[in-house]
């Protein structure tokens, strides 16, 4: 399939050149790319899920390697792997359902109940094991009705599965792919609409005459504030300009156009102003599994200042920014470095550089990191499209979206 490969290469190139900016755009495009990968993948009759997983993993590995800092890409790859596993599980389960319904029909009702209760736990455990998915409340709730009606096949396991597969081979081969693509479409839909879902919660969190501080520009924050404004809340916003990209100016312009009281301050004035601020709302680049946040540079300073003055520090982010990885030394390893020309013009210090390079290493360095890491203890609240969560709950939220098997995308694909 050359056409998919060219698409992948294009996308990899764009990621490498940092042509795609922002986690939402890259998440959406990743999902779309993987959807076409899935749809063009030819599936054999057996082990369809494994083949599909391998294909997605192979592409995913390339995408992640292209820009390891853009965690949203990896998140989406893992989400889609998870989707495939889920769909495989449900399709298997529904296949079992058909078998078990006929087998169980003549059983005693009372006995069946108890038996199902006992067996359902085993079935759930087996299902969990088969996907290596972390046990969760959701799977328990979802799993009970399905597996309760299929106790016997699950206990008899592998040998009956082969038979059942052969029976419904043709229908299932189309069904799995179709289901996966459906689910991916849903995911894309979710990514697109996450702003609306997040901003719906705005009115519940912003009161009249609130003073809000933010740094730089995040689309999620903008929508959040605008949504509150549309609901006739009047409040004022302080925007730190967010050097060296000055996206705060853009945000200020947008908010003023919507009629919000806006004050632009320099980044250095954050500490001076934070004592008069009721709430800090910022966007994030990624949310790590331990509740830490990777956000545009400067936000750690804001978070520390907010902590000092006991100002709530709220992070708004779509669920595609939830990353199942635990950060290690994120300031260095999960950081991007921008051009020094943002800070110093290239010509500006050329006269100094002539003799400063004499010692071998240059005497002047310019550091321009793109991201900050904010430890979870500084965050008061996460607002995602599924609602508000405390930082300590993020690990649990991640178990809903990802299967533990996919946390490391690379290792799997190299072994397979």
């Amino acid at each position: 399939m050359p056409d998919v490969q060219t698409l992948v290469n294009d996308f990899v190139l764009k990621l490498k050149r940092r042509k795609i900016e922002g986690s939402q755009a890259s998440a959406k495009q990743t999902a779309e790319l993987l959807r076409s990968v899935v749809s063009q993948q030819r599936l054999p009759y057996i082990n369809q899920a494994t083949v599909l997983l391998d294909a997605v993993r192979a592409v995913g590995e390339q995408l992640i390697a292209a820009n390891p800092v853009e965690l949203a890409v990896g998140n989406i790859v893992r989400r889609i792997l998870h989707i495939i596993r889920e769909e495989d599980l449900t399709s298997t389960a529904s296949a079992m359902e058909g078998l078990s319904l006929s087998a169980n029909s003549d059983d005693d009702d009372n006995y069946e109940r108890e038996d199902h209760q006992a067996l359902s736990a085993a079935a759930v455990a087996a299902a969990a094991r088969s996907t290596l998915r972390a046990p969760s409340l959701q799977t328990l709730l979802e799993g009970i009705p399905e597996s309760a009606s299929a106790p016997h096949p699950s206990s008899s396991g592998g040998d009956s599965e082969g038979k059942s597969k052969s029976a419904e081979r043709s229908s299932r081969s189309k069904k799995l792919k179709h289901d996966v693509i459906e689910a991916i479409n849903e995911l894309i839909q979710d990514i697109e609409t996450c702003h609306e879902q997040i901003s719906e919660q705005a009115v519940g969190l912003i009161h009249q005459n609130e003073v809000i501080l933010t740094l730089g520009r995040s689309r999620t924050v903008k929508e959040f504030l605008c949504a509150a404004n549309e609901k006739k809340r009047s409040f004022r916003v302080f925007i730190a300009e967010g050097a060296p990209r000055y996206l705060g100016h853009v945000l200020a312009k947008e908010l003023v156009a919507k009629g919000l009281q806006t004050t632009v301050i320099t980044d250095s004035a954050v500490f001076a102003m934070i004592s008069r601020v009721n709430m800090v709302i910022v966007g994030a680049h990624a949310i790590m599994a331990n509740g830490g946040v990777i956000a545009p540079v400067g936000i750690n300073m804001v978070a520390l200042a907010a902590q000092r003055h006991a100002v709530p520090f709220v992070v708004v982010a779509g669920s595609h920014k939830l990353c199942p990885l635990y950060p290690h030394n994120p300031e260095v390893l999960l950081n991007d470095f921008k051009s020094p020309s943002d800070l110093l013009d290239f010509g500006e210090f050329s006269d100094c550089m002539d003799f400063s390079t004499s010692g071998g290493s240059p005497r002047l360095h310019v550091v321009n990191p793109a991201f900050d890491f904010i430890p979870s203890k500084l965050v008061s609240l996460f607002i995602t499209d599924t609602g508000g969560h405390s930082p300590s709950y993020i690990y649990r939220l991640i178990a809903d979206y990802y299967s533990a098997d996919d946390f490391v995308v690379r290792r799997r694909s190299t072994t397979s």
Partner: protein
Amino acid sequence: MDSRRLPRTVIDPKVRLVGFFTSGDPPPARFNPNTADATAATAAAISSSSQNSDINLTGNSLSPVMIPPLRRMSPRRCDEMQMPIGSYNPSESLLGTSPSRRGINGPDFSEVATSAWLGISGSMKAAASFPGSSGEMMMVGKNGGNALVKNMDTTELAAKTVPGVTEKDGGTLTDMKNEGAGTVRHQKQMTTRAERRAIQEAQRASKAAAMMDGKGGKSIASTGGGAPSISNQEKVLKQSQKKDGPQETGATSEKKVSRNPDKDRKKDIPQPRMQFDDKNRVEKAKRRAVVNQFEARNRVELFRHLPQYEHGPQLPYLESKFFHLDNIHPSVYKVGLKYLSGTITGGNARCQEMLLAFREAIIDYSTPPEKVLVRDLTSKIGSYVSFLIECRPLSVSMGNAIRFLKNRVAKLHHNVSESEAKSRLISDVDRFINEKIIVADQIIVQHAVTKIRDGDVLLIYGYSTVVEMILLHAHEQGKQFRVMVVDSRPKLEGKILLRKLVMKGLSCTYTHINAISYVMHEVKCVFLGASAILSNGTVFSRVGTACIAMVAHAFRVPVLICCEAYKFHERVQLDSICSNELGNPDVISNVPGKEDVNHLANWADHKNLQLLNLFYDATPSDYVSMIVTEHGMVPPTSVPVIVREYGKDQFIF
């Protein structure tokens, strides 16, 4: 007491460079005449060895932090020195009144021949091996010395011994200043020191453990004492002397001064600052104003109490008015314009320029007929100051300098001739600039340089002249370190400093304030300047300093504030909003060198949009590890102490 304290005198100096310390008290037995008699025998044997260690001890024990100087021993020693001097009038002397002058060793004195006592006390002064005694020593040597000699002559007590002692004092002082380490030049002094040393040795012999400690410490001390550090500490010594002065003379001088102290205090309280949300007063001020101010269009509601003016049109307006403003001296006018245009920034530079302008004005001043110089000059200075305030609000440093100058003018006697008064004022101004700024900076540099070690990464923010001097001095000393220059919009002062440092060959890293969390990992120490330090320890400095200090605090990096003591103020402040200065908001909207960032091009048209350009912020004292002043390195909690102790002499001398 001495068994506990003795080891302290020889502790490795590095351990106690920061914070308060009580220097080791000399064992009281030293004053015992019996042991004093025994000194002669052992003197020669120990003299050479003890001298070296003595001086090293002096050097080491003179920690840069000298506040408070030990109080327990010093008054006693003063007493001892004065006790024999019957006619000595305490009120005339700097040594006079000390709260603990209760005749501590009274009975002993009566038994001792005065000459012997003087000899011993003299030897103590000369030797100066006790850190605590150093302050007193200096005082005797410089201030008290002459008075002492005079009194000696009149009372005819030990006439031979005392001049000798004072001579020795002077000798020691110069000796130590010039050469730091001990020289064999002063043989006499050596013996006296040896005497005292011998007593100490005899004391130590009885206490084996203490002696062991002492020797261990001594060896470290003798190897560790370097020439620069000693000379550095000598300066501290000077400061400590200054500091001792007011403490001990406080009571007398207040009594002497005929003024009512309450009145003085009332005068000291600064005038309430102009609140610009008070419409009546603003109107009044406007009518008086020389500069035609235009209110900024989109004012920030939170800062309505501060002046928010358009920054464009004042300068040409003032320039055109140059020949019409008769009552403003041209040099003051020039400085005002420089403030307005932002050519002169920074607390030191502004203060210095203002004082020089006032100096010019004083030179050109002549008292108009039927007027008194004191009143007229004060009102003149007042009008100059209000002109300068219109150009740009005063900084604390300038406020202090003006207070000083007005005080000096007010203190001029009525029967002093005009030329005499003028020359006095001019010399006062010169001395203020020299002592409070230039020399103070040099001392601060010498203190702060001791905190820079090889391999350090130092973080600095913005452009502070003192910090620049520190870095350059450390570089000249051959220390290998790296500098992180952190900068922030809109002034980007760091670039100027960066250029200077790179030109001098320092290796630098440049970044902006948002990346502070990233660079703070490798930083060893943060050096910051300050515009003012307030009495509650709050550091009032260029905006962003608080952020830097906060992040450094979060990363457990020590924060050193380098600031001259004349910028200290007894005012208190909790936040950065009540008193601040607002700059031109236009500089926020346009980013120089980046034409694509023009989203806020015509921001003033949107009535909902305000741009806030704060100049200062207040750093809470708990983020500050240490404040480096010319009086030593002190914790922020000591700021009110310095304000209290030095506030007086700042305006009295």
